[in-house]
């Protein structure tokens, strides 16, 4: 069987004060899959993503990304793994305030390997932000900042994209633009894991995982129960 993009085995995350954010979760996400993670506030969605990107570690169980056990990596190795394989879009738009939009994108290139201004600009154009490249984040609207963040997440061409509420603060027009970007990425064969409250975005995804109190309450492929048609999708 092909190596999965993500494999969780009996993963639990307990925060100080006995807060069980994730409770013995097991799941597999094959490469190229577009997954929407949904669920009420506090159900453990962000925690789930943090375990994936290696910023956080599970209390018990195993998290594997592309066959690598993230917990086994030293912090420096985890940083390398992250910049090679993962593009992160945050719940809030974290841009560096004293850098222009273009420079923010280039920063990811700088930490990754080489700065390529032309490519960074192309990336911004692909999310419809080419004309705002030389603006500071404070001069942008929320939707524009979010798209700049997406451009930064994509500039190093990662295999896996993790997004936390990418449309949470956007109006419909901006939302539609972000949906289009994700559709495009999916067509390009990227693995996309997006946390969202947005039903439309949830329905666009191939697969929907609903968390509740740190457990998987629902796991469906376009409305069918997982397991039932996994074989056909994974092929």
């Amino acid at each position: 069987m092909e190596e999965a993009a993500v494999a969780f085995t009996e993963v639990s995350k307990v925060y100080p004060g006995e807060v069980k954010a994730l409770d013995r979760i097991s799941l597999r996400i094959p490469r190229g899959e577009w997954v929407a993670v949904m669920g009420p506030s506090g159900s453990g969605k962000t925690t789930f993503l943090n375990l994936l990107d290696g910023l956080d570690r599970p209390t018990s169980g195993q998290v594997q990304l592309l066959g690598t056990n993230i917990a086994d990596l030293a912090p420096a190795e985890a940083a390398v793994f992250r910049r090679e394989n993962i593009g992160l879009v945050f719940q809030q738009f974290y841009l560096i305030p004293y850098l222009t939009v273009l420079e923010n994108v280039m920063l990811a290139q700088y930490f990754h390997s080489m700065v390529d201004e032309g490519q960074a600009l192309e990336m911004l154009e692909s999310v419809g932000m080419g004309h705002r490249a030389s603006h500071l984040p404070s001069q942008l609207s929320g939707g524009e900042q979010q798209r700049a963040c997406i451009a930064r997440a994509l500039v190093n061409d990662p295999g896996i994209i993790l997004a936390d509420e990418p449309t949470g603060n956007l109006d419909e027009a901006n939302e539609e633009k972000v949906f289009e970007i994700f559709r495009e990425l999916h067509r390009g064969g990227k693995t996309i894991i997006v946390v969202t409250h947005d039903r439309v975005l949830g329905n666009l995804a191939q697969r929907r995982i609903v968390l509740n109190h740190g457990r998987i309450a629902e796991d469906t492929y376009n409305g069918n129960r997982a397991g039932e048609c996994t074989a056909s999708i994974v092929g």
Binding site: T46, N50, L55, R82, R83, Y110, R152, N156
Partner: protein, 428 residues
Amino acid sequence: MFFRLLANSLARRMSRKLLAAFAVWVGISLILAFLAVSIDVGDKMNRELQAFGSNIRLEPVAASVPVRVGGHDVPSTAPPAYLEEGELVTLKRIFWKNNILGVVPRLWTRGKTEGREVPLLGVWFEHKIPVEGGEPFATGARRLYKHWKVEGSWPSDRPAGGRISSLVGDTLARKLGVRPGDAIRVTVPSGPATIAVDGIASTGGREDDAIILPLAAAQALAGREGKYSEADISALTTPENKLAEKYGQDPKSLTPAEYERWFCTPYPGSVAAEIQKSVPGSAARVVRKVSETQGAILTRIEGLMFLLAMLTLVACGLSVAGVLTSAVLERREEVALMQAIGASRESVLLLFLSEGAVLGLAGGLLAAATGSFLGQWLVRAVFGSEPELHPALAVLSPFLGLMIVLAGSIWPVWQALNQDTAAVLHGN
């Protein structure tokens, strides 16, 4: 990209960084000023101690308290009240001859002017002692009494026309109402004499009440040719230490080896002993010079200034650390973000420390200018003397700035690097 990052970070987020650079600037300026004073004090002190102040007083045995030479009491034969001027040449023949920097024989006598009795003091103003097989040794009051302030001109030992020239102590000059260029009529047992006033001397000593004239003239007026009553000698000596102290307490307690060492070290005591041996009927005693007491005070000022500089360094370091800590804490999200998008610790550390380095260097460079300025002003204010320039301090300044800022920022940056990135970014 790195420099773009650095430049933008510095240019677009100024306020707090300016505060840090300002703290560095003020702190190092003070440090430099204190150090400048400390160094100047040291220089000044050395110069003062090297100046030919007399530190040994030679007197006839009778006039002196019993003195021990090399641990033996000198037999007190019939004590002459005066010493022989001619025997002073032996000073340049003794073991420590090269340590003898100056000598002035002095003869005290009395005369009357305007119905009041005045002390007359004969000295060598400028004199040459012949040295076997060498240049004559030039000495005299003018060289030895550097601290005398003379208004008018220094007299010569043998003025043209056979007149007697003199300095008048300033206290006496005020009483007599004389000025340089005046003449004083003095009556001595052998008759009247006219003394020309070349200058008014402020000496801070007994001489302020006296008329100071060439030794030969005083001898003639007193009828004591070739005699003097005491001599001030300046000798280059080594500061006393434990050994000298031990000798001072009880010379017999020294082991032969220690005695040898004591004898061969130019402690004031050993030089004085040697002089006493070479001049018959004399007693040499070590004079604790005023400048030595001053020296002790100056040493303390020097230490104090150094201490102040160090304390300022600590205070400055702490305040810079405080400013930088809050500046870095303010940027925790930025650090977390950089780490989340794959920055290594090293690259984040490099960025923050470089920023700090720029601030530290800037503050230090500014301080190099203001610090030396402040230091010069302080030296002038405290000592009233012309300050030295200290290029070394100016060079030190940017380095100090660098060190302070790096020391102050390493800890907060390290903290930020070790923070819980996930928690910071997700605002939980």
